[in-house]
């Protein structure tokens, strides 16, 4: 199977190279009108078919690797290092992305899949798709070349073949790890498609903005995958790492967040190009940057450029990525300089206070956030290079710098939709903003009364202050969004006589993109409320002997037993904790600690009881070696559930935005005129 997989990759590389060269040649001939021995259209079609064949060849290679995992073929080094016989079936799939070679193969396969769909739907616009397909082939050549020459997944194990493998990293043996990396990769790889369309459209001086309409679904689906991937990663960190948080500003987390920020900026500013022919250069560079940031993310993950908890996938292929990023950047700059006259804006902004400028400021803030994260991620390297002194850039830096930017962005989320296009008058501002401003202040006062005070022990409490502002802005933004729904639904209700809910549904269906976008904003606000809750975390840690108790918030935890379990993969220890509230037993929690047999590595399995107001998060930290008593850590995490609920709303909003809008019901119909009734007919007689 190793030979089959290796040959499949080599064939895929040859086919991708043919796709790139033949496609480029054919497009060159078509563009210059040069006479050629073979019809350029036919040559371009062979290139397209080669691209389809790449997908089949890479699928065969991926199948070969999965087959090898399931058949415990430890003659392949990758399988030996990332799997073992006792590994459960679902996690054998995750072996595909648990190491560098496998995850690069996953990347190549997903790129092949996206390319396959793109090439099958080429009739939408044959020439544009030919350009995009050829550019995608260029990206595919890079990944396949790495797989064939720098990080081969089918390399054979040197020496006597062991009976069993090293097993999968315990951190990855968690259900979400079966879907989090593929989701993230679907997002990363997916941005190659809008990148290819943008670069292709620029190369061919594509007339109009149709390429944006063509790529809109691609971009949104990709963005959705990346969003879901990031949140799944957060949930995994929350449920597995056992420190009670979900976002540690780790360089690899940051690497996934940066393309999300630029991709989000692109999704907003592209509307300006579609509607008003503005910001064309800006949009092209946004999508170029997004693609480059996905490569940078992979570089950070794989090359060990910065230290990270994601160290399980480091290697020396960084040079390949640096060179490829350099080539991509050079191609982008060269094409832009050559074709920049094609990107002249058709309109300019007319006022600082308008929907257009809110999009511009939204982009500005998103890109500043991206810069802050990139800067924080790379500053240790820069500092070491400049002054020879490595420093840490951790959560306190990001909390101080990124949170204010985030709150400003949240504010724009509410302000933007309330501003009219072109220019806003004082009257319209007052009309639209009175209610949100009132709710802002009411919320702030209610929070202060409820105890959310931005001071603690005589000093400014940064966490509480940001939470207070975040809650107040969130409620104001929700008010703004709901008032938009209610205003529109009210008009429809008056016109059609439908009730307000049916009218809201109709309103959303008539402009799914706009109202889907608002639902996404609601999701973002819910997520922010959940994040703000972290300012009020409480935790306690205690050694618990049998029937000992510990208290956190309204809960009392009583230890009622300890037990052990074992299977072929790991040994585990549990604590059985009865949880009381108001003196009444509510439920039982069983935090667990596993020790994996093959690696000897320990792993916590946190017990979480989640309700809308908070999560009770309990960690079994092991036993005190001096006393032999188990150590239990309990954390009360307010509002964490809102983060995951926000994701659901966000996904729903994106799906709504992807659905085509209903045709306007007020569209005029051409009805053939009937002959005027004759005089006798009017009088009741026969015509």
């Amino acid at each position: 199977m190793a030979a089959f997989g290796s040959f499949a990759l080599l064939i895929a590389l040859a086919l991708a190279a043919y796709n790139l060269l033949a496609g480029a040649l054919a497009l060159r001939w078509i563009a210059t009108g040069q006479p050629a021995a073979i019809s350029p259209e036919r040559l371009a079609d062979t290139a397209r078919r080669a691209g389809i064949a790449v997908f089949i060849a890479v699928t065969a290679a991926a199948f070969a690797l999965i087959w090898s995992v399931f058949t415990n073929d430890f003659s392949i080094t990758y399988i030996m290092e990332h799997s073992n016989r006792a590994l459960p079936g679902a996690y054998k799939f995750s072996a595909l992305w648990s190491g560098q070679e496998g995850s690069l193969l996953l990347w190549a396969w997903l790129l092949g899949t996206y390319g396959f769909v793109l090439r099958l739907t080429h009739k939408t616009d044959v020439k544009l798709y030919a350009y995009a397909g050829t550019i995608l082939a260029g990206v595919q050549v890079f990944f396949l070349a790495i797989l064939c020459f720098a990080a081969p997944p089918f390399a054979l194990y040197q020496g006597a073949i062991p009976d069993d493998g090293n097993g999968l990293n315990p951190l990855l043996q968690y259900p979400e790890m079966v879907i989090h990396p593929p989701m993230l990769y679907l997002g990363y790889v997916g941005f190659s498609v809008p990148f290819a369309f943008a670069l292709g459209a620029l190369m061919m001086r594509y007339p109009g903005e149709k390429w944006i309409k063509v790529t809109r679904i691609w971009t949104m689906v990709t963005w959705l995958f990346l969003t879901a991937g990031i949140f799944l990663g957060m949930h995994w960190a929350y449920a597995v790492l056992g420190w009670g948080g979900y976002w540690g500003w780790d360089p690899v987390e940051n690497a996934s967040f940066m393309p999300w920020l630029t991709g989000t900026a692109f999704l907003h500013s592209v509307m300006m190009q579609e509607k008003k022919g503005m910001m064309k250069s800006w949009n092209v560079w946004l999508i170029f940057s997004t693609f480059l940031l996905t490569l940078l993310g992979t570089l950070l993950t794989r090359a060990g450029l910065v230290s990270s908890v994601h160290a399980f996938a480091q290697s020396s292929i960084g040079t390949w990525f640096v060179v490829f990023m350099g080539i991509v950047l050079a191609v982008c700059i060269f094409t832009y300089i050559l074709q920049r006259s094609h990107l002249k804006s058709e309109h300019h902004l007319e006022s600082l206070v308008s929907r257009e400028s809110s999009f511009l400021f939204n982009n500005l803030v998103l890109l500043t956030a991206c810069f802050v994260i990139l800067w924080g991620t790379l500053f240790p390297v820069i500092s070491e290079y400049v002054v020879g002194n490595k420093v840490t850039v951790g959560a306190p830096f990001y909390n101080r710098v990124a949170i204010p930017i985030g709150i400003f962005l949240l504010l724009l989320t509410g302000v933007g939709p309330l501003l009219p296009w072109r220019a806003a008058s004082f009257k319209s501002i007052r009309r639209n903003f009175v209610l949100p401003v009132i709710t802002f202040w009411v919320t702030a006062i209610v929070c202060l009364v409820a105890g959310v005070r931005p001071w603690q022990d005589g000093a400014l409490d940064q966490g509480n202050f940001y939470a207070l502002v975040a809650f107040s802005v969130s409620v104001a933004v929700l008010t703004a969004i709901f008032s938009e729904f209610i205003r529109g639904a009210g008009v429809i209700s008056r016109q059609t006589g439908k009730n307000i809910f049916a009218a809201t549904w109709l309103l959303t269906r008539r402009n799914t993109r706009r109202y889907g976008g608002y639902i996404i904003h609601i999701g973002v606000v819910i997520v922010v409320i959940g994040l703000a809750g972290s300012a009020f975390d409480r935790n306690t840690e205690s050694e618990l002997a049998l029937h000992d108790k510990m208290t956190i918030g309204p809960y009392t935890l009583e230890c009622v037993g300890f037990t052990q379990d074992s299977n072929l993969n790991y040994n585990s220890e549990y604590a059985l904790l009865d949880v009381y509230k108001g003196g009444k037993k509510q439920f039982q929690m069983t935090p667990e600690k596993r020790v994996y047999l093959i690696t000897g590595q320990p792993q916590t399995m946190v017990a979480i009881h989640s309700i809308p107001s908070w999560d009770l998060y309990v960690v079994y930290e092991g036993t005190n070696p001096d006393t032999g008593q188990p150590i239990i850590k309990a954390i009360l995490n307010p509002l964490v559930g809102w983060i995951w609920a926000g994701l659901v709303v966000l996904v729903f909003g994106t799906l709504v935005a992807l659905v085509p809008s209903l045709s306007p019901s007020t569209a005029s119909l051409r009805v053939p005129a009937r002959a005027a009734p004759s005089e006798p007919a009017l009088k009741g007689g026969r015509p």
């Binding site: 780790d250 908890v309 006022s351 400021f361 840490t392 850039v393 319209s428 005070r453 000093a459």
Partner: protein, 163 residues
């Protein structure tokens, strides 16, 4: 003018309310231990904040926390405690760059970039809007009075010029 003074007064009231909120209930007691253990990193390589490190059998965090408690008990200032940690473990023990030397660049750069981008955007939009106003003025000066009146009427009726 009346409108302007209304908004100025509203803003003043809001700022006053914020100032009152901040001053209410302030006391001198501090929780230095929590503050400091969130400004330091665990040095075992887990890349976690010292106060949040919960590794099973972490070889370093308990010792570091003891050092911190001792420093506070001995009456050392926050800066002295942080300096002693840096002296022992190196600058990577601090969870964020300091406010001295090259570290200052880490703090300044994000705000400088944001301010520059904001200023650039405002200037650009203003230039565009001024250019447009001049173009419109030039356009309307040669316009038929009836057409100009019609445009004015449209502006009045659409209120804010939106569509």
């Amino acid at each position: 003018m009346k409108r302007l003074s209304f908004w100025i007064k509203t803003t003043q009231a809001a700022l006053l309310a914020i100032a009152v909120c901040f001053s209410l209930g302030a006391t001198d007691a501090g929780s230095r231990y929590t503050d400091l253990n969130h400004r330091l990193m665990c040095t075992c390589g887990c890349a976690e904040i010292l106060g949040e490190c919960n590794h099973v059998g972490c070889p370093n965090s308990a010792g570091e926390l003891d050092e911190l408690r001792t420093g506070i008990a001995n009456g050392q200032s926050n800066q002295q405690i942080l300096d002693s940690f840096v002296g022992k473990y190196g600058a990577i023990v601090l969870a964020a760059p300091t406010g001295h030397g090259f570290d200052v660049v880490a703090w300044i750069a994000p705000f400088a970039v944001f301010a520059a981008a904001l200023l650039g955007t405002i200037l650009l939009v203003r230039r565009w809007s001024v250019g447009r106003t001049q173009a419109v003025a030039a356009d309307t000066s040669t316009m038929d009075p009836a057409e100009r009146e019609r445009r004015e009427q449209i502006r009045r009726e659409t209120g804010d010029g939106g569509f």
